[in-house]
Amino acid sequence: MNGIDPAMQSTKENIVPEQIQTRDAGYYVYGFILGMLVLTGFAQMPIFKRYYIADIPGLAWLGNFYATHWMHYLFAALLIGYTTFLATTHLLSKGKWRSIQAAAGSMHFWILSGLILTGGLLVVRNLPNMHFPATFIILIDLSHLTLVMVFLVHSGFRFFFRRR
């Protein structure tokens, strides 16, 4: 048994891989939700049909504005729920306060907060009998779009240069 206590071996095999697996799963879930939000968000512009993307087999739904609008809401709810889950989990764990502070200080956090805020305003605007001034609607529409662009550039930068 190569000199390692069986109990210790069991601990290493069970706990360490599980921690890695949990982190990886969370990373991919977060990435999938954000990816779907970006995709369904861009689908709100009449471009996917124009540029044949909705003609690709399996992607016809990208040309359905109501379907992508509904999915955008669904993934927005998932993003809000998941980020709240992550933030609360960190808060409840000992020694994670610094990582919360670091996350709150990061550009990613502020861009995401801006997207959720402007997106939330658009959701409220879309409810019946909600009348926002025309200039305010244009402001939140363009702010939401601009923040997505900034988010994509920032995420790409982080991905390729491994910056946090």
């Binding site: 709100q44 512009m45 009449p46 471009i47 124009r50 540029y51 044949y52 504005f65 109501y66 609008h69 509904w70 809401y73 669904l74 927005a76 709810a77 998932l78 809000i80 729920g81 998941y82 980020t83 709240t84 889950f85 992550l86 933030a87 609360t88 989990t89 808060l91 409840l92 764990s93 939330g120 959701v123 409220v124 605007r125 879309n126 409810l127 019946p128 009998n129 009348h131 025309a134 609607i137 244009i138 939140i140 529409d141 363009l142 779009l145």
Partner: protein, 241 residues
Amino acid sequence: MYPSRVRVEDWSEKQDVSDRLTPYNWLFIQHAVVTVNGKEVELTLPRMCMHCVNPPCVKLCPWGAAVQEENGLSRIDSDLCLGGSKCRKICPWHIPQRQTGTGLYLDILPSLAGNGVMYKCHRCYRLLEQGEVPACIEACPEQVQSIGPRDTMVRKAHEIADAIGGYIYGEHENGGTNTLYVSPIPFNILNGAIEKGEGRPHFALVKDRMADANSLAAAMLLAPVAGIAAAIGKAFRQIRG
């Protein structure tokens, strides 16, 4: 324009077309001849924007180029519209009509994005601001139209419908519209009798197209609560484990 599938819709040489909705004609008269109890009845119906209570064309315009006034009318700002025609696709009646070759898109990416300006009835909002009535009401020789607050108009529509044994269209369609029709003929029969197609809207039943997404708005409010509850549950399980 690129790519080649992008449809050019130039009505500038056909401004006189009046038997359908066009970028230049925001109201047309639809005719229906139906037989009821062996008797032939002819109806003429002014067709224009339904001015939905919760208009998808306004709420889902990606640029905020469409706006809904507090009095319920919806309109498209021709200075901002890029002519992508999303509003026409999502409109249950496909009301807005496009004029290619004009508008803001010419100053941005004229070949790659946009395709003109979408036009539809704006209920003569300038006249309404001045306390006057829309031009179509003024021009109608039969005086078939009335205008007023929606609850008043719904009440009036029911009074007329009760008096003639008629039917109402627009009270519930797409969650309710500000344009209401009262007819002595059921609208499913009228819908079969009218000419439908591009620029010629139907009279079919329409479910509330915004309802599915708006019901998810409640899920967004519950999402943080669910996230916190899940995190507390996870922490509790870890403590017990």
